[in-house]
């Protein structure tokens, strides 16, 4: 009965590689998000999709590309990984009319070596 799930939970890879993180929500929400949490715990929004449409695209390198095949899924693909990409990436979702109430997944800890 997991609400927002992410895979994988841990991802260790080398610089230059391409990797993807998958996210699924079973809450019936219309909006999904990707956040990055750095080593100092600072949380910053990266992208947001509403009904599969990109509505927020913060200043994120082009190497990051979100894809939403349907309302319940939002994947994050990262090309040419760099050391600075090491962080915990959270997926979240929210229902219509309550964007302040976001449900977060358990996070994916990405380590780039």
């Amino acid at each position: 009965d997991t609400a927002v799930s992410q895979t994988p939970k841990y991802l260790v890879t080398q610089m230059g590689n391409d990797k993807s993180i998958k996210c699924e929500q079973n809450l019936g929400h219309d909006t999904m998000y990707w956040y990055k949490q750095d080593s100092k715990k600072f949380l910053k929004i990266m992208f947001s999709y509403n009904n599969k449409e990109l509505i927020i695209n913060e200043t994120v390198p082009n190497r990051f590309s979100p894809k939403s095949p349907d309302k319940a899924h939002l994947n994050l693909h990262i090309n040419s990984l760099e050391l600075g990409d090491s962080a915990v990436y959270f997926c979240a979702s929210s229902r219509r009319g309550a964007p302040y109430e976001q449900y977060f997944g358990p996070g994916t800890r990405l380590t780039v070596t």
Binding site: K41, S48, I56, S94, P99, Y100, E101
Partner: protein, 113 residues
């Protein structure tokens, strides 16, 4: 740039004491001010939220106070318990950008038994 400034960075409180976390914002146009709680290894979870037309909101041991003129809002945890030990984030949703959560830098709370 819209910002939410949070203090203190860390807080140690004895069991039964009151934990107080403060946030201030620099832009007057925000729609909602939620607080999130994050335990180690988990995603943030909504704790309580307040609208700018309300001065105080209480849910159990958690109270948000909002001072619109001072552009400040705070979280009070009454009768703090060791289980409250977590990182707390204040956040704000800019008006007209209702899908975007801007987070404070977080406060690591430790409640000693």
């Amino acid at each position: 740039q819209q910002q939410v400034k949070q203090s203190p960075q860390s807080l140690i409180v004895q069991k039964g004491g009151i934990s107080i976390i403060n946030c201030a914002y620099e832009n007057t146009a925000f729609d909602y001010f939620p607080w999130y709680q994050q335990f180690p290894g988990k995603g943030p979870a909504l704790l309580i939220a307040i609208r700018p037309d309300v001065s105080e909101k209480k849910e159990g041991r958690f109270t948000i106070s909002f001072n619109k003129s001072a552009k400040q809002f705070s979280l009070h945890i009454m009768d703090s318990q060791p289980g409250d030990s977590a990182t707390y984030f204040c956040a704000a949703i800019p008006a007209g950008s209702s899908y975007k959560l801007i987070f404070g830098s977080g406060t690591r709370l430790l409640v000693r038994p």
